[in-house]
Amino acid sequence: MKVQRRFNYTGRKKIKKSDVDITLVEQPGMPPRFEASLRLSGLGLPGDAPVFIEAYQSEIVERFDWGTLENRRTPDDTTLWSLDDTRPIRFRVKVVDPADDNGRLLAAAFGITPRGDEPGEEGREALITIATKNLGEVPYRIEFPDGRMIQLTVNSRIPYAKDRIMQEPIFQNLLFPAIIREAFYRIFFWAEGFPEGKPGDEEGDDESWQGRWLRFGKMLYGDMEYDPPADDINAIEEFIEKVVEAFSRNHRMCERLMDRLEGTR
């Protein structure tokens, strides 16, 4: 059995995520800025230790000098110029040894999600869950295990399958259009349809997975009022294809796929 051990040779202290509040603030015509509230008083570290907040996405980092533990100072401008605001932004907080050229971390918190961006929080609706299971020779399957959520089940024989789905553009860009198509075909053509009528109907169940997906589809289609006529197969298929096209366009799926393929050649 492989045992993973972690060492903390330098005695770095952990800043609890609950002691850090970060909120992204939209700015018209500009990238978002952020506001941060830090509770670092109980760390027992030198008051002149510098504090930094870093916003990051993979290899892109924007760093902000937050003064010292004793004398915290919010920068005038916390606009995230270098980051892509269409992708998740994470933060880390660092307290650094004040000794010259040392650079040792005295305390840190990594992977902080800004408020309102956490999965399942208000303002965001999860549309799919990901699970792994041995599927023999089938790479993946779209399932509806409890009728409440679509589940993408990836074959557990694929190493790091879940991580790859979450991070790899090749997997995502090939899979996602197919998932969207299958979800909407299920909604419109399967006997179960909506659990209790259509969303918007008096008896409609807007919080069903079908309701959430249809809202998502209408948003991409560009008309929240539009319902394709139930007896017009062509109109339904056209709706589904437009949703797939809009989703692919918004995420530049083909371009990203080509870039990735170019990078692995």
């Binding site: 770095r12 110029w81 892509d84």
Partner: protein
């Protein structure tokens, strides 16, 4: 050629530049000269509020290009231009003859568009040759000569590995240490084997090891000397003992006439 004022390509100008790049990639068609007229055509470009002027000069390497651009571009408002796709794409076109020269077969062979046209995807922006050369030379001066000492049209693996970690731009000590490790001052070029794959102590490993260090060190605060101190033993083969000493001389000499005291062995942090 007389100097011209810096401008930016507008959407139409960028589209036409993209069309030209696509056209170059088509093996069936005769290649046309670069559409330099887009640079000053008011239909395809826009003026900038600064008086910066630029000359068409020939550069030995990307470092020279970066050096030349620093005082020119610094006349502009840096915040406004850093992510301006039109601005950098204009420069990509301005220097296109050097960025994508005509090959021995009489044809140009362009790389992906984002080497010349600044990508709107932040993850690819480091591949804009002109912009990355300018940003790194501006921040790190001679310490990054080893990254940009190749001819202007070559984007080497050392450049790719270090520039891809875009936050290294703000890590003075890290870049100083990288220059110390991977630049052979005697040969005035990167050390042999610095860009090798799957070998200890190479540029690839440098990036990965520093990533591990981020849990313990604030790499933005580290000095170059400190980075060299904390790097594990696998980097010894690139560590320079004395200024101007080439690795070949050093390694052959020390292999014969040195031994490692057990007490001097550095802990391997991997």
């Amino acid at each position: 050629m007389n100097p011209i004022k810096l401008r930016r390509l507008n959407r139409l100008g960028i589209n036409k530049f993209e069309e030209y790049l696509d056209h170059l990639r088509n093996p069936e068609t005769d290649q046309q000269p670069p559409p330099f007229h887009l640079l000053e055509d008011i239909e395809t470009s826009e003026s900038l509020p600064w008086d910066a002027e630029i000359h068409q000069k020939s550069f030995q390497n990307l470092y020279e290009l970066g050096q030349y651009l620093v005082p020119v571009i610094d006349q502009c408002d840096r915040r406004k231009i850093t992510f301006d796709q039109g601005f950098w794409s204009w420069l990509g076109l301005f220097f296109f003859d050097q960025l994508c020269p005509i090959g021995n077969n009489g044809r140009r062979k362009p790389r992906l568009n984002y080497y010349y046209i600044l990508s709107s995807d932040r993850r690819h922006q480091y591949r804009h040759v002109v912009r990355t050369a300018y940003l790194f030379v501006r921040e790190h001066g001679e310490n990054v000569f080893f990254m940009f000492c190749s001819p202007v049209h070559i984007w080497g693996d050392i450049t790719e590995q270090l520039a891809a970690r875009q936050y290294f731009l703000g890590c003075r000590g890290v870049m100083e240490a990288a220059g110390h490790l991977y630049f052979d001052r005697l040969r005035n070029s990167p050390r042999r084997g610095a860009a090798a794959k799957d070998k200890p102590g190479t540029v690839r490993r440098f990036g990965l090891v520093l990533k591990q260090f981020e849990l313990t060190w604030d790499i933005f605060s580290l000095t170059g000397q400190k980075v060299l101190e904390i790097l594990p033993r696998e980097f010894d083969r690139f560590r320079v003992q004395e200024e101007g000493e080439s690795r070949k001389t050093r390694s052959s000499f020390w292999r014969k006439f040195s031994w490692r005291r057990p007490s001097e062995a550095k802990p391997d942090l991997q």
